[in-house]
Structures are given as C-alpha cells and as structure tokens.
C-alpha cells in the first residue's frame, strides 16, 4: 500500500466505490491519498461522493466522505449545489434521513418559513415521514439561549402545528409519526436539572442533595458546593449509587464532630449552591434535631410529564377534547390513547386518575407489543399519584402503593422523606439504583413481587426491615447488597424458593449476621 502512488489509489478506490459505496477501507485509503496528493480536489471529490450517493443514497461512507471533503474546503461551495443534491435525493426518497440532516446543516441560518414550507410540502405528499416531522421540530426548537425557559411557541404557530397534527391523526390514527410529533411539540423543553430536596442527618453524618434529573457532579471541580457554618466543605461528592455516573442523589460526608465536643450536638448551618442555575439553599440542623431537610413543593402537572410544563393549559385542554372526539371514532387508536393519558395527567393527574387508568388499560389491550412501555407509563401514573398524596413534616411518612401492577419505580427522587414504603403485590422484577434517594426509608415492603435478586440495591442508611415474601428469590448470595445496609435488622423471606431451600438459614446467617431472617 505504501508504494502505490496516490493517483492510482484514487482510480482504484474510485472504481470500487462507484460500484459499492459502502467499503469503508476504500474511503479511508482514498482520504489518505487525497491528503498526500494535495491540490484542489474538493469539487471533484464532491462530485464523486454525489455519484456514489446515486448508487446508494443512504451510504454512510459516501455521506461521511462528503462531510470530510466539505470540512477540508478552504471556501466551501455555496449551499445551492448541496441543496440541489438534497432535493434530488429527497424527491426520490422523502425519508432519506441523511439528506435531511445535510439539508439542516446547509440551511442552518436561512429562511425558517421557507424550510417549514418545504417540510410541509413533503408532508402533504405523504405524512408518514418521521424525517419531515423531525425537520419541522428542529426548525421550531427553542434557540439555545432560550433553553431552560423552554420558549413557548407563538400561539399562531402552535395552532398551525396542532392543526397539521390533527389532519394527520384524523386521516390515519394508526400512523405513529404525527402522534410522536404532537407529544414533541407539546413538550418543548425538558427542564434543566435542579435541586428538589436537601436532607441532612446528624447520625449518618451525611448530606444528601437530590436533583430533579440525574446529574453528574465532578468530584474534582464540583458545580455543587456546600458550606458548613460558613466554611466550605471539601467533599468529595459521591453518587447515591456509589458509581461515578449521573445520578439523582449526591452525597457528601460531614466532618466528624471533634472528640472534645462529641457529646455536644452543635447547630449546623449548611449552605448549598448549585452552579448552573445559581440556586442557593440554606438548611439548619438544630441542636436537638437528628435530621433536617428542605424540599421543593410538588407541582401536579410537572410530576407526570415534566416536559409539557410550558404549554398553555388551554391548549392542552383543547387537545384533550380533540383526542376524546377521535377516540369515540377509533376506540383502539394507540396513539390517541397514549396522548390522551399523557395530556390528562399533565393537566391534573388526581382528578383524571380513573379516566387515565382506564385509557392505559385499553392501551395495554390494544398494543400488546408495547405492553412493557405502557406498564411503565401506568407505573409512573401510580407513583405520581402516590407522591401527590404524600404528607410531609417530621415523623414517619407512609407511602402505600400496594397492588398497583407497577412494573417500574419512577419518581423515587420525590420520595426522599418516606419512612415506610409499601410496594407489595406489584410486578417489580428489579429495583432501580435510584433507591439511594430514600435516605429516611426504614421499612420496605416488597412482598409478592417478581424479584429474583436485589442487584444494584444501594446501601440505605436507615433501612431496618425489608420484606421479600413471595418473591422468586432462590439464592442467598443475591441478597448480598443488603449487607451494606447498616441498620438492617429484619428480613422476611417466607414463601420464597430460598426459604424452603436446605441450608438457607445458615447461608443467610453468614451473609447477614445481625439480621433476623424469617423463612
């Protein structure tokens, strides 16, 4: 390879790629030869990549080569040529996502209305075109500066878009693309992560900061800073799960009280600052208290579908009416059932709870292929309803979610203060690592679920009792994460395979020496 002169490499790779533009090696050789060759080969190469795209319009290699060539061009050719190519490719296949992507790159700063009209034209030919809908969405996306505020669409524009969606869903409610677009256009801004709860416990000597979404806190240069009585705490920060990954919960150890004052219970004044949005919170732990917290009040509509927060409730209500109308005609429409459930829960989850449950139940029947997804949506609804019913304040806090057919456990970050959690009789197969957020949890009832193990179960500082009766737990070793829970005193394993296995008691005694196990 080394000895071959670049022109020969070009002609050889050229003939191979012209026949099959998906040979990555050839593209790489070609690029190396081009660099070696020098001179102005940009127009020629653009043309060559274009001709390869005629062979396979979705050739990743050819598109990549094009991008590479354009990146090397000293004066990139005007958008006209590139747009011509895109238009040609899109007219032969209006769903060629490469061409759409390329088009987006070309017209980044150009006329918004013209682009919307272009996407509109292709939709009017065939609206089952995710790419065209997506193109619209990207054009209408909030600009970078408005991120966070979630810049709502101008009412006229929103109305036009919703009309487009309605046309599509009434024409063909089984087509998913318009339903997806509807949900996207309504949920325009994912709110940035923010602190929703701070919890400090004297006994554990730990400060827990819980975020609305998983965040990464760099232990070296944390965006999160904390002061204790005015002086900065060094950290380090660790995630609730103990892994250096984005997490809802970040923990910081408080300095051990000095030997001299160990009997004393000093007042602790904590100041927490979150860099990205400059939030500053103060939490005071009084001398006669063991724990202290700050919690953001829960907003109904943000709980179930946080992204929809900026939409005008009036618009949502109109959409609900449209969906109800369509549902009357098409009781089995999956997109309609799902959108309606989301909309109702976003408007007011509590007063629509029964109706939403009904729609989700229909959806489970209408869409058996996505049963898991629907069950997760239903689980989220149940969890949200539970959180909304949650009290607050000192003392025990009960959250009862028994027999709710839950398959997953979302919104744990909103359950930081719960002391007693009843999840019995659900369909849980695994426990999420976000359990780490439950800093106060003392009693966890998981009986009659589908748990085979407790993989990933984080060490909960205050967990005393855990009930696993009626789960298919069969090996003692799978319960090993429990060993890290310092206060665990009681474990129930009745009616489990492990419970009836010989030698189980001995194994468990070895694994969890201080725990009273009921088999």
């Amino acid at each position: 390879q080394q000895g071959v002169p670049p022109p020969q490499v070009l002609s050889l790779t050229g003939s191979i790629l012209a026949a099959n533009p998906d040979v990555g090696t050839c593209w790489n050789l070609r690029r190396r030869a081009l660099v070696e060759l020098g001179g102005d080969w940009v127009p020629g190469e653009l043309q060559f990549a274009g001709s390869c795209l005629a062979v396979n319009p979705k050739s990743y290699g050819a598109w990549h080569h094009r991008a590479w060539v354009l990146g090397r061009a000293t004066a990139p050719p005007g958008g006209r040529e590139g747009r011509g190519l895109c238009e040609r490719l899109l007219s032969s296949d209006p769903r060629n996502f490469h061409a759409w992507e390329h088009r987006r790159a070309l017209v980044a700063q150009e006329d918004l209305e013209a682009e919307l009209a272009f996407a509109g034209t292709l939709l009017s030919r065939d609206f089952s075109n995710f790419s065209a809908w997506h193109h619209r969405l990207r054009l209408l996306a909030p600009t970078r500066s408005a991120v966070g505020k979630g810049g709502a669409l101008p009412p006229d524009r929103l109305k036009a878009e919703l009309e487009l969606v309605q046309n599509a869903v009434f024409t063909d409610p089984t087509d998913q693309s318009a339903w997806v677009y509807l949900r996207c256009i309504l949920s325009r801004a994912t709110p940035p992560p923010r602190i929703i709860c701070v919890y400090v416990n004297r006994e554990d000597a730990t400060l827990a900061v819980v975020f609305s979404r998983p965040v990464m806190v760099n232990p070296e240069h944390p965006d999160l800073s904390v002061t204790l009585d005015g002086s900065a705490l060094e950290g380090p920060w660790r995630s609730g799960e103990g892994r250096p990954r984005p997490s809802h919960t970040w923990l910081c150890d408080l300095p051990c009280p000095d030997e001299a004052t160990s009997t004393g219970r000093p007042l602790l004044q904590l100041g927490i600052t979150w860099g990205p949005d400059s939030t500053h919170l103060e939490v005071t732990l009084l001398p006669d208290e063991d724990e202290a917290w700050w919690q953001e009040p829960v907003v109904d509509r943000e709980l179930f579908w946080p992204e929809v927060g900026v939409a005008d409730p009036q618009v949502l209500r109109e959409q609900v009416e449209t969906c109800r109308e369509l549902l009357e005609l098409e009781p089995q429409s999956r997109g309609c059932l799902l959108s309606l459930s989301l909309l109702l829960s976003a408007l007011d989850p509590r007063s629509h709870a029964q109706e939403t449950r009904k729609y989700l139940q229909h959806l489970k029947e209408a869409d058996p292929l996505r049963l898991g997804f629907v069950c997760d949506v239903a689980s989220r609804l149940e969890a949200a309803l539970g959180v909304l019913g949650l009290g607050s304040g000192p003392g025990d806090l009960w959250l009862r979610l028994p027999d709710k057919s839950m398959t997953s456990l979302p919104l744990l970050e909103r359950m930081v203060l719960v002391t007693h959690l009843d999840l019995s009789g659900n369909l849980l197969r695994s426990l999420p690592p976000h359990f780490a957020a439950l800093r106060r949890l003392q009693v966890l009832d998981l009986s009659r679920n589908r748990l085979q193990d407790l993989a990933g179960f984080p060490p909960l500082p205050r967990l005393e009792r855990i009930w696993l009766d009626g789960n298919p737990v069969s090996h003692a070793s799978t319960l090993s994460p429990l060993a890290a829970c310092p206060r665990l005193a009681e474990l129930r394993l009745a009616e489990t395979p492990l419970g009836s296995a010989p030698g189980a008691a001995a194994q468990l005694d070895k694994l969890l020496p201080h725990v009273h196990v009921t088999l």
């Binding site: 046309n167 024409t171 005609l329």
Partner: protein, 632 residues
C-alpha cells in the same frame, strides 16, 4: 401501389381499433404472419385521435354520409364454384348525429391555415395517419408539430420515444417546455383564445373520439407492461378527481394525502371517509359490515355508514362512479375497491392518460405487431370474405384491388360487417361531446390539471355523465385551452343527452356580457356532439352466417377503462391459439439473431428490399396519398 400484397397470411385483421391492434400484436408476437388493414386513412378506427383540422374533416365526412352504394359485384368473379361470398360493409355507420358549434367569430378564421399544414391534399386525417408503426424512428414524427411558424418542436421526447409507464409522471414533458416558443402576439391577453388561433394551432390538438382513462391497475396497464409496449408511449397521471354537487365543482379527496391536505373536510369527516375507504379495501374480510345491506342499493348502504351527505356523494359518484338508483351494495363495494387499489401506483389518483391522446395506444400495439413482421395497409377496403363451401370456414378475403388473400384466421371489427350479417344485432349507443374551453372547471394554483368529473344524472333515469378535462401538457390541446370530453350511454342524441350538463358546467354565451356567476364558468370556444355505436356486449351468436374462424371485435364501449377491449382480445386470442401465451414479454434485442432477409425491412423502414415482402413498412399504405388517390 405497384406491388401486390403477398397472397397468403396466417391472420388477417380488419380494423385498427384497440382490440384488433392488441390481437394483431399478439398474433405477430406468437409467430403468425399478420396482415392488418384498415379501410380508413388513419389508425385506430373509432379509437383514433385527431388534430383539429383532422377532426373537422372527420366531422364533414360523417355529416355528409356520401352513399357508397356502388355495390361493385366484380369481385365476386373471384369466388370459385364451391365457395360463398360474404360481403362486408363499405361504409361506416357507427357515427351519427354529428353536430358541431363554434362559439366565436368563425368568419375571422376564413383563410387561416393550420400552422405546418402540408401543402398536399389533406392527409390531415388522424394524428396517427402518417405514423408508420414499422418504420422505426419515423414513428414519432406525426406527433411533433413540424410547423415552422409554431416555433420549436416540443422537447426531444416525441410520442414514440420509450419511457416505461412506471416513470411516466416524472418524465412527462413539462407544459412550458413545449409551449414556450408558441407565437403569442404581444400585448394581447394570453387567456383570450380565438377560433382562428385554434385553427392555426390545430396541430397541437389530439382529440380523442373515445374518451377513456387507464386504471393504473387495469388490464391494459398490465398488458402494456407485460408486452413491453409501454415503451412506445408516455403517460400522465390524472391529477384530480372532481365531483359536481349542489351546482358546484369540488375536488374529491380520494387518497390518504388528499384527505390529509383537504381543507373542506372537517376532522370527523376525514376520519369517517378514511375509515370507510379502508374498510372497502378489504371489505370481503368483514362480511358482517355489509351483509345485511346486500339487498339494498349502495347509496342506501352508504347512508347507514355515518357518512355526511357530501361524503356519500363523493363515494357514490366520484369514487365508485356507480348509479345511485341501480347499483347494489356489493357492486358498489367492488367499484370502490377497484378505484382504491389503483391509487398510489403512479400517483395520487387511480388513472393515467396517454400523452398525445388515447389514439396512441392502438398504434403502439400496431408497432409491436410490425416489429414482429406484421404488414400494415391503411386505406385498404376489403370487399368481402370467402367461405369454403365444404368446411364452412373462411378461406380468404378479397380486397378493393380484387386481390384474393387467403389466411387461416380472420379478425373483423364490428363496423366492417354488412347490414345483412348484423340484422339481428342490437346495438347500444354512446353519446359524446368534445369541447374546447378557455379555463378549467375548477381553477386552482396549478393550471395543468387532468381532471375526471362524474356528473350525476340531472333527471331520473338518465345515466351519469363522465367528464374528462385535459390540459395542454397532455399534448392534446393548445396552450391556454382545455379539451373537455363528455361521455355517457345514450338515451337520445348526443346533444340532447349532454347539452344540459354542458350548460351547467360551462358558459355557452361566447361574447355576451353575463352576470358574475356565469363569468366564473369556463367559456366554450368550440364544441362537437356525436353518437357512437357501442358494439361491446354483442353476442357472437347474434351475427348471421359468420364462419367459425372469423372473430369479431367490438368498437369502444362506454366504460371509463379499457378492460373490455383487453379482455376481448385475450379471449379471442385464446380461442384461436389455446396453447400460445398472450403477448409475452419480448426477447431482449441483444438475444435476437437476425436473418439477413428479415433484418432489412424491419429495421430500415424502407420498402425496397425483398419482393416477397413489399409492404413490410407501412409507409406505402399511409404515406403515399397521391398514388393511392389515383387508384380510387
């Protein structure tokens, strides 16, 4: 005509209409020696398309009805003793009640000549008159306006150039392309087209005698593709389906994209329409939905389906295109399904229209026939058939030169049969009208629309009228005009049948200033009405005394599609050659090994080669009008 035809063939075909042409092609394709003659000087018979002046001479001819009653008995001398003569008709009785009207200053057109008209005596006949199917490249010539005054000929794609029908919508020449050079006196409103302009631009017209569209999953399309005849023609998608309701022309949303884009339907209507159409696509799988309505009419069934009145109208008249009073539920469902199945193959409507007119299609099949050795003679009347006394089979024909040509099979178009043969035949009639108008019945952003409109009966007991409006980019009319075809089964004369509909849709008061409403309607510049005989559906047994090896093809039927002609051709072919395949795909030209003798006449298109095949190019029969004339 110096050379005589060979005296022996396998198959002799009389008439160049669609079924005959398909049969001729099928026979030649399966190796038969085919002689295909037509007594007219143009291809297509009643399936032909004419330029404007060609149509005027056709009208004149049919209005005068000169009696050719010179029953020349000379030819019967050629009949041998044990043979019997079956005379054929010498005149065409299929067209009646021809009435033409000009709604403009006709006098001003005196002396105006058609651009590019030949100085020679009028061969002005059909657009295809000069087309020689066997003559290679010259085939495309007749369609190109050769006139120098008319300016540039339309872009290289003449009628003859190949383009698979699959790609037709994309390759259809853009209107502007062909018309840019058209002369337009500066300062004149482009919309105002006068009669003299029509005459001058007469060659831009290709006016069909029979108005049809091709169902994009119909038998004809399948045949065109299978036999590869499609490469001889180009097509354009009908762009919209219209309805006439409460005195207004509306566009019918019939495809998914139409429904999505429609502004006239409410959301609920959209859903109901889509729901019903989806049901129709596989109605057989849901018998419970229609079983209890099988006894009632389709219109009554639609009423039970929660469809609004306008949707019912759209489905009944524009999609199923069936009768409100007669059509049963099942028929209606079938018709709807046929429409829907044809959607989306080539575009958003189920129909295709052949560029340069319906008359192209028979010629395309003639060309295939000629490529496989068929011999063509236009203007070649045949005096009669010769029946063998012993076997009762037909042995030969005797042509107008008195030449006796024998063959094994004879295919005769119905209009060639004499009155005595057809005494027991009961014919139906088709009412036709052709209008040249100045604007579309429904103006939208695009002027270039091919529309089909089904007008429900204006009074009870009348048939619905099918209206097809063609724009200039179909190469059937000049710029700024529209060619409108109206068709219905006759109850009276064509004018009586169709004029009420014409009055509803168009403005016939050419110059008079009328109230606003009238002004919105398109103005009719010129119109012709005529009745055409519909010989489809005639039982073979009703013809008297035809030998068993004489097969009869019918003229055009009144239906929108061409299925009837294709079916007929296929049935006859299979009766003749039960073991042969019907129009199989032609071999790849590269695989053919030519004999030197065969190659010459077919490829060169000049009839100078072997004496054995003096007419293998049709040039003589059609082109040399002068020579022919002297013979008559």
């Amino acid at each position: 005509m110096a050379d005589r035809l060979p005296s022996e063939f396998d198959v002799v075909v009389l008439g160049t209409g669609l079924p005959e042409s398909i049969l001729a092609a099928a026979c030649a394709r399966s190796g038969q020696r085919v002689l295909h003659v037509d007594s007219r000087n143009y291809y297509g018979g009643n399936w032909a398309s004419f330029s404007f002046s060609g149509l005027l001479s056709w009208i004149k001819e049919n209005q005068q009805k000169t009696d050719v009653s010179d029953e020349c008995e000379d030819w019967k001398k050629l009949i041998l003793e044990n043979e019997e003569a079956i005379p054929l008709s010498r005149k065409d009785r299929t067209i009646q009640h021809v009435e033409d009207f000009c709604f403009g200053d006709q006098d001003s057109a005196e002396g105006v000549e058609e651009a590019g008209a030949l100085p020679k005596p009028p061969v002005l006949g059909a657009s295809g008159a000069e087309g020689c199917p066997g003559a290679g490249s010259s085939f495309q010539e007749p369609e190109q306006p050769t006139g120098t005054e008319a300016g540039g000929a339309p872009g290289g794609d003449g009628a003859g150039t190949a383009s698979g029908s699959d790609s037709s919508p994309a390759t259809a020449p853009e209107p502007g392309q062909a018309e840019t050079a058209a002369p337009e006196p500066p300062g004149q409103e482009p919309k105002k087209v006068t009669y003299s302009q029509i005459v001058r631009e007469g060659r831009r017209f290709n006016i069909d005698l029979v108005s049809k569209l091709l169902y994009s999953r119909g038998l004809l399309i399948d045949l065109l593709i299978k036999s590869n005849v499609s490469r001889y023609a180009e097509f354009k998608n009908a762009t919209r389906v219209l309805a006439f309701r409460e005195g207004k022309v509306q566009q019918v949303p019939c495809s998914r994209a139409d429904v999505f884009n429609s502004r006239q339907l409410t959301m609920v209507e959209k859903r109901m329409l889509m729901k019903f159409l989806t049901f129709c696509l596989d109605y057989e799988e849901h018998p419970e939905e229609y079983q209890e309505h099988e006894g009632s009419t389709f219109a009554q069934f639609l009423q039970t389906r929660k469809l609004t009145p306008s949707l019912q109208h759209f489905i009944l008249h524009s999609i199923a295109m069936v009768s409100e009073t007669e059509c049963r539920t099942l028929e209606g469902l079938q018709a709807t399904r046929k429409f829907l199945q044809c959607l989306g193959r080539y575009g958003n409507t189920p129909f295709l229209f052949p560029l340069y007119g319906q008359g192209e299609i028979p010629q395309c099949f003639c060309r295939l026939c000629a490529v496989f050795g068929g011999i063509y003679c236009l203007r070649h009347p045949v005096r009669g058939l010769v029946r063998d006394g012993a076997s009762g089979r037909c042995k030969a024909i005797v042509d107008h030169f008195g030449q006796r040509i024998s063959a094994k099979y004879f295919i005769v178009e119905d209009s060639y049969l004499s009155e005595s043969t057809c005494t027991n035949v009961c014919y139906r009639q088709i009412s036709r009208a052709v209008l040249i108008t100045d604007q579309s019945v429904l103006n939208t952003d695009s002027e270039q629309q091919v529309s089909i409109l089904s007008v429900p009966p204006l009074e009870l007991g009348k048939p619905a009228v099918c209206v097809i409006e063609l724009c200039s980019s179909t190469m059937t009319c000049m710029k700024d005009t529209y060619l409108v075809h109206l068709t219905c089964p006759s109850t009276k004369t064509a004018r009586e049948d169709l004029e009420p509909v014409v009055q509803k849709l168009f403005n016939l008061n050419a110059e008079k200033e009328t109230e606003n409403e009238e002004l919105e309607k398109p103005r009719v510049l010129w119109a012709v009405y005529f009745n055409m005989r519909d010989s489809s559906g005639v039982e073979r047994s009703s013809y008297d005394g035809l030998p068993s090896n004489v097969y009869v093809c019918s003229g055009p039927d009144s239906a929108l599609g061409n299925d009837c002609a294709v079916k007929q051709a296929q049935t006859i072919f299979q009766e003749m050659f039960p073991t042969e395949e019907f129009c199989p795909p032609p071999p790849n030209p590269e695989d053919i090994i030519y004999d030197e003798e065969e190659v010459e006449p077919e490829e060169s298109g000049v009839s100078n080669s072997a004496e054995s095949k003096p007419e293998s190019s049709a040039e003589e029969s059609s082109g040399e009008a002068g020579a022919e004339g002297t013979r008559e």
